[in-house]
């Protein structure tokens, strides 16, 4: 059966669970195998094969870096703190109990490292202010439009588009940015995200929705300008 556009999305989309039961079953199986493999690597490291640690963290190099880059918004600081986070993970590996996924445990270490780094960089004042506002007031309505022509993934070859996307994520208030990064960039599920951030699943859902709406509002005018949308005859009025 040929794929419809909507069907194709399921295979193109990352970070958005479009609910294909087969794909989810496959993902569960793969995750189970990955966890078993990681458990075995951790057992070997703790038994003295310390060099195996390189293999254990290799799949998460980018996850840790991106998490810290979106927190610190500085490439040099992100790289240095990613190294520190990995070293911490090595030192504290014996405390990993396996009740959470290794990736969740690792991203929690990375976020703690990021927070310490922010404090050292004296940016804490700004972020603490954001922290004290549990759900800041904001404009969570989307950008209005009457039609949308798909921006193809090939457009990402353009450096300025990639920069614009990163800038948009950076511009999100911290509490929304961190949920967006974990859910949509790192593809963690709601429970893992809630555990990593110490918030409720309900808060994860609310913040993710707001983050996505803010990104849509920031990026759609730019994307439409960079790739002109089809012209419709009439803009339909709101119902």
């Amino acid at each position: 059966m040929p794929l419809s556009c909507a069907g194709g999305y399921r295979y193109l989309t990352k970070g958005v669970d479009l609910g294909d039961p087969l794909r989810r079953a496959f993902q569960r199986l793969r995750m189970q195998e990955d966890r078993q493999h990681e458990a075995e690597l951790i057992r070997r490291i703790l038994a003295g094969e310390t060099d195996v640690f390189h293999e254990l963290i290799r799949p998460y190099e980018k996850m840790v870096y991106v998490t810290l880059l979106t927190m610190l918004r500085n490439e040099t600081e992100a790289e240095d703190s990613a190294q520190e986070a990995m070293i911490s993970a090595y030192r504290y590996l014996h405390t990993f109990r396996g009740d959470a996924k290794f990736s969740t445990w690792l991203v929690t270490i990375a976020m703690n490292e990021g927070r310490q780094r922010l404090r050292r960089l004296k940016r804490a004042a700004e972020d603490s202010l954001e922290d004290t506002v549990e759900e800041p007031e904001g404009d969570f309505t989307p950008a209005f439009l009457t039609d949308w022509r798909e921006i193809p993934l090939e457009a990402l070859e353009r450096k300025e588009l990639r920069q614009k996307l990163r800038d948009a994520v950076d511009s999100l208030p911290k509490i929304y940015r961190e949920v967006f990064v974990l859910r949509d960039l790192q593809e963690m599920n709601q429970e893992e995200t809630a555990a990593a951030l110490g918030i409720t699943i309900a808060a994860v859902k609310v913040r993710l929705h707001r983050a996505r709406m803010m990104l849509q509002k920031i990026l759609v005018p730019y994307l439409r300008g960079s790739v002109p949308a089809r012209k419709g005859f009439f803009g339909r009025l709101f119902q």
């Binding site: 999305y9 193109l12 989309t13 990352k14 970070g15 958005v16 669970d17 479009l18 490291i45 703790l46 003295g48 310390t50 640690f53 390189h54 963290i57 190099e61 490439e75 790289e79 990613a82 190294q83 990995m86 070293i87 090595y90 030192r91 590996l93 014996h94 405390t95 309505t141 989307p142 950008a143 209005f144 439009l145 009457t146 039609d147 949308w148 798909e150 921006i151 993934l153 990402l156 070859e157 588009l161 990639r162 996307l165 990163r166 994520v169 960039l185 859902k205 929705h209 996505r212 709406m213 990104l215 849509q216 990026l219 759609v220 994307l223 419709g232 803009g235 339909r236 709101f238 119902q239």
Partner: protein, 88 residues
């Protein structure tokens, strides 16, 4: 139940994540069939998420992996037992 546009926007995220009840989902899809604005908002949001989550949007700096593993190697050799000298 006739959903207003605003009600649809409130559910966009859960719609994309397939977290809505079949009843609410059906209502939203009925609305989308007749509302170009909400359809375009949904499509553009999904497109923005696909682009943002693409591997190319965030790239590792050149040489990142080597520098990371070199530094790790030093740390591992300085502290060959990951359980030692660390609080449990």
């Amino acid at each position: 139940m006739n959903l207003k546009c605003k009600n649809v926007w409130e559910h966009i995220s859960e719609y994309l994540d397939q977290q809505l009840t079949p009843e609410v989902r059906a209502e939203i899809e009925k609305h989308l069939e007749n509302c170009e604005v909400c359809s375009a908002i949904l499509d553009s949001t999904r497109n923005v998420l696909v682009l943002t989550a693409d591997n190319r949007t965030y790239e590792l700096p050149v040489g990142y992996s080597k520098r990371l593993h070199d530094r790790l190697q030093k740390a591992i050799h300085q502290n060959p037992d990951p359980g030692e000298n660390s609080p449990s």
